[in-house]
């Protein structure tokens, strides 16, 4: 509210809330020297005692405050007294305030209890004083607060400008920006720096309020953002986001589908920004699978000591980039102790032990039962590269131990040096775990190539030193589990395209793709 209207209210009390034109006219007729002060804002229960009266009444906004008039605010109530030069005093809850003098030369107020905060205009030509039971604060052009406790102790705090504070004994100190002083019946205390917001009883400045609200908003945002971060971390923890050997993001999802009671299908999906690849391993067991498939799946790679309870009758695996495909299919699965079948080449020296959930080394005479399949084929875009078929083999017969009952069709054969040279050759890159396997037919018109990398989550190729000289056996497979396996497949049928898969090594170990 402007000062002009305050003056108008004083001259024309019956028009306490003049309309705009009234205020304008009053402003023109009655200039600033009218020395008016009035209550311009109230909240809650604010009582007013007119000088000479004995009855407290509820204050009305616009109430002119003259010498000797008193104001009381109840708990949770507030009031603002505004002067004709825009200076104002805000009274806090539970405050008792008296206007002692309001003249052209001086404004003198008294604060018996509670607190006030004052904004005194710098152009003010008269002095402004706040008296308390123990102190006097005198000022020109400043912002400060005064608190008075029930015992009369006074605390004065400056927010801007210069303020003289004196006690009842005539001692006086000057306090400046952000300083404060306490005055008691014993006298004036030491001037100290005001703590930031820890014990101000006055109302906040607009900037403090703004900063505080901004701080609260930012704190709330931190809490809400934490929820998003937790989602992201969960994805990483589940191994669903990796980086491949080319520095590209690979998303990975691995899960098991159960198409029938005796079947499972392990699926690995890979997505990069520009491609989608997948691998699946679909198996049919000799019996219905339990709810907890780990019992059965742990036996897929073989069993130590005795034949497996669960073994595969058939399986098919597929690798695809959604255009090209590599499909393996095997059937006629049955159990054979490969360490006692008279064939040295298929003996197993390291195996996964379901009892301990670990890779263990096997002794030469330790029985190890694996599933052998009578029929097998691998096709690239429906073109067979290798296959075998057993015919006339006795039930449970061992195809490893016969040459008369099995027909092999090897369209492509693996190429080793010196008959070939990289890149179309089988070799291991020096110092790192990057292996190339290349196979082709006699004329080189049908070929397949596998680039196998052992990589970290950040896409770095493992060094041989990371495996500390371990290149085979249980220790190798155990160490391998801590890395990712990337396999890039190209073939004569793919038209220059590739199938690029990043998978958990254990999946390939289980499915026999890593021997």
């Amino acid at each position: 509210m402007r000062a002009e209207s305050l003056c108008a209210e004083r001259r024309s009390p019956r028009h306490a809330r003049p309309a705009f034109f009234g205020a304008l006219l009053a402003g023109l007729l009655f200039p600033r020297f009218c020395d008016a002060s009035a209550i311009t804002h109230t909240e809650g229960k604010v009582l007013f005692l007119k000088f000479g009266s004995y009855t407290w009444g509820q204050v009305v906004r616009g109430q002119v405050v003259g010498p000797g008039d008193r104001i009381k605010t109840a708990a949770s109530a507030r009031a603002t007294v505004t002067f004709d030069d825009d200076s104002r005093v805000e009274l806090s809850p539970s405050t008792s305030f008296t206007m002692r003098e309001a003249s052209e030369r001086a404004t003198e107020t008294r604060l018996d209890l509670g607190s006030l905060r004052a904004w005194i205009a710098k152009r003010r030509s008269r002095s402004f004083q706040v008296r308390t039971p123990t102190a006097v604060a005198a000022v020109r052009g400043t912002e400060f607060s005064v608190d008075v406790s029930a015992q009369g102790e006074t605390r004065v705090q400056m927010f801007g400008g210069l303020l003289a504070v004196s006690d009842n004994r005539g001692n006086e100190v000057l306090i400046k920006d952000n300083q404060r002083v306490e005055v008691t019946a014993e006298g004036i205390g030491r001037v100290t720096e005001a703590p930031q917001g820890a014990d101000q009883r006055g109302s906040r400045s607009a900037r403090e309020t703004a900063r505080r609200e901004v701080g609260l908003e930012m704190t709330k945002e931190e809490v809400q953002a934490a929820a998003a971060l937790e989602q992201k971390n969960a994805v990483y923890q589940e191994g669903k986001a990796l980086i491949d050997v080319n520095g590209k993001r690979v998303r990975v999802e691995e899960y098991i589908v159960r198409p029938a009671a005796d079947q499972f299908k392990l699926v690995v999906l890979n997505e990069r920004s520009d491609r989608f690849d997948y691998f699946f391993y679909h198996g049919t067991f000799n019996r219905a699978l339990p709810d907890d498939m780990s019992t059965a799946l742990r036996q897929v790679s073989g069993c130590i000591g005795a034949a497996c309870d669960y073994f595969l009758l058939s399986y098919d695996t597929g690798r695809s980039n959604t255009i090209d495909k590599v499909v393996e299919a095997a059937s006629g699965g049955h159990q054979v102790d490969v360490n006692h079948n008279g064939v040295a080449g298929d003996a197993v020296t390291a195996a996964f032990d379901p009892a301990t959930d670990r890779w263990v080394s096997l002794t030469a005479d330790q029985p190890f039962y694996q599933t052998l399949f009578n029929d097998y084929s691998i096709k690239f875009n429906d073109v067979t590269h290798q296959s075998w078929t057993a015919s006339g083999l006795a039930p449970g017969g061992d195809i490893q131990n016969t040459t008369t009952h099995v027909t092999y069709t090897d369209v492509t054969t693996v190429q080793y040096e010196p008959s070939c040279a990289p890149p179309n050759c089988t070799y291991t890159e020096e110092g790192v775990l990057h292996q190339v396997v290349y196979a082709e037919n006699a004329g080189g018109t049908i070929w397949e190539k596998y680039d196998n990398y052992i990589i970290s989550d950040e896409g770095k190729i493992a060094k041989l030193s990371d495996f500390a000289g371990i290149t085979s056996g249980a220790a190798y497979k155990t160490t391998l589990l801590n890395w990712n396996y990337q396999q890039i497949v190209t073939a004569s049928e793919f038209g220059g395209r590739k199938i690029d898969l990043v998978v958990e090594p254990k999946i390939f170990i289980k499915s026999g793709l890593i021997p």
């Binding site: 720096e193 498939m293 780990s294």
Partner: protein
């Protein structure tokens, strides 16, 4: 509110004669580096800007429109460090508006609010701004009631509802199609937007001087109850298949701190030393389970956990009260105990023990004013983590990481 409308409102509000406008501007610019397990990220910069205007229409109504944005080229020590991606750039923009209504005759303020945030993240070389896998947007509305019973001491009650959406993240399974034999690759009930969530949060907090009439300590307590509904994430059963029911989490957290402001003498001048000790507890109850297809292992109750944290902090400020020099330090320990998630050994074998992780964070900072409103800052953070989860192929649980940042901050 659309961004242009928001900006226009800010400008128009600033010109309205009846409105008292108080702008607040904070900014910071810093450069630094990040080290993780002996590797170091490249030197890069961070920047942050917060701008707001408190628009006071009258004694009862105010409005706080606000923009905050940041760019982070150097990872913070807590930014998903376990994933080990050293290459990370993050950018976010947030617009919010908060109404502030003072209730006449009381100490109450009512604050309805709304905000929109978009965060962009580049973690790999083939991700571009807007195409990051973990980009997300958040839309929030809230309502808070605050009682400044003895300013600046308050107690507050709030309700917030917000939706977090990852626009670039859909489950691969939902778009997997069929295999070459014509059989479906995905499971039945496979859902699509598995990370998107709705959050409903109730919180209560307060601060109190101790003793009340002659404050020497400041006590702060906060409690929150957060209900999280995963819109499209179905529960996993013991066969590794989906159930029709969806995932729901309830996160309750309780935090408290005791602060002690002290006056001390530093370099022959008065200084302020703020000491505090914090304690927080959190309990997340989730109905989701996991199925580890690689190890054929069903893990029930995999996301429920209890977390406890504690630690001291100190801040020393000296020089001018408006723009002091400051030195800060804090140490924080936290432990997260999963209720159902099992620890694995180095090769992935599951044991009987439940997974736990301890984290220790040491943060140090120094600020020195170099010009009005401008402060030179130096910060460093050290985090070390330890866990009984030894299978670290996809995520690190035991590691040390450190970053440092040199820069300036501006406050108006």
């Amino acid at each position: 509110m659309r961004p242009w409308a928001f900006a226009a409102a800010l400008l128009l509000a600033g010109t309205a004669a009846a409105v008292e406008v108080t702008p607040v501007l904070n900014g910071s610019l810093a450069g630094g580096q990040y080290f993780f397990k002996g590797q170091k990220g490249s030197f890069s910069g961070n920047a942050a800007l917060t701008g707001a205007s408190l628009l006071k229409f009258n004694e009862r109504w105010s409005l706080l429109p606000m923009y905050s944005g940041s760019y982070q080229g150097s990872k913070g020590v807590e930014d998903g460090v376990g994933a080990g991606t050293l290459f990370q750039q993050q950018m976010d923009h947030r617009l919010s508006v908060t109404g502030i209504r003072r209730l006449a005759g009381t100490n109450w303020k009512l604050k309805p609010s709304a905000s929109y945030k978009r965060e962009f993240l580049k973690e790999t070389r083939d991700e571009t701004w807007g195409k990051g896998l973990f980009d997300y947007e958040k839309i929030a509305v809230g309502f808070e009631a605050e009682n400044a019973y003895r300013d600046p001491f308050t107690y507050r009650f709030a309700f917030d509802a917000y939706r977090v959406r990852f626009p670039n993240y859909e489950s691969l399974e939902s778009k997997s199609g069929v295999d070459p034999l014509g059989n479906p690759l995905g499971r039945e009930l496979a859902s699509k937007r598995v990370l998107d969530t709705y959050h409903y949060q109730f919180s209560a907090s307060g601060s109190r001087p101790l003793p009340y009439d002659d404050p020497r300590f400041v006590l702060q307590v906060a409690y929150s109850f957060l209900y999280q509904s995963f819109l499209d994430q179905r529960l996993v059963d013991q066969r590794g298949q989906f159930e029709s029911a969806g995932r729901r989490d309830v996160l309750q957290s309780l935090s408290s701190s005791v602060g002690r402001p002290l006056k001390v003498r530093v370099f022959g001048e008065d200084a302020r030393l703020d000491l505090s000790l914090g304690l927080n507890l959190a309990y997340n109850r989730s109905n989701q389970n996991t199925y580890d297809a690689v190890f054929s292992r069903y893990v029930p109750d995999a996301y429920s956990y209890v977390m406890v944290g504690a630690g001291p902090a100190a801040n020393l400020a000296w020089g001018g009260a408006k723009q002091p020099s400051w030195l800060s330090g804090s140490f924080r320990w936290s432990r997260q105990n999963f209720i159902g998630r099992l620890a694995q050994d180095g090769s992935g074998a599951y044991g009987a023990a439940k997974q736990r992780q301890d984290r220790y964070i040491l943060a140090l900072g120094y600020g020195h004013p170099v010009a009005p409103s401008l402060t030179l800052t130096v910060r460093t953070n050290l985090l070390w983590a330890d866990s009984n989860q030894k299978y670290e192929k996809t995520y690190s649980y035991t590691y040390r990481t450190i970053n440092y940042l040199l820069g300036v901050s501006y406050e108006y």
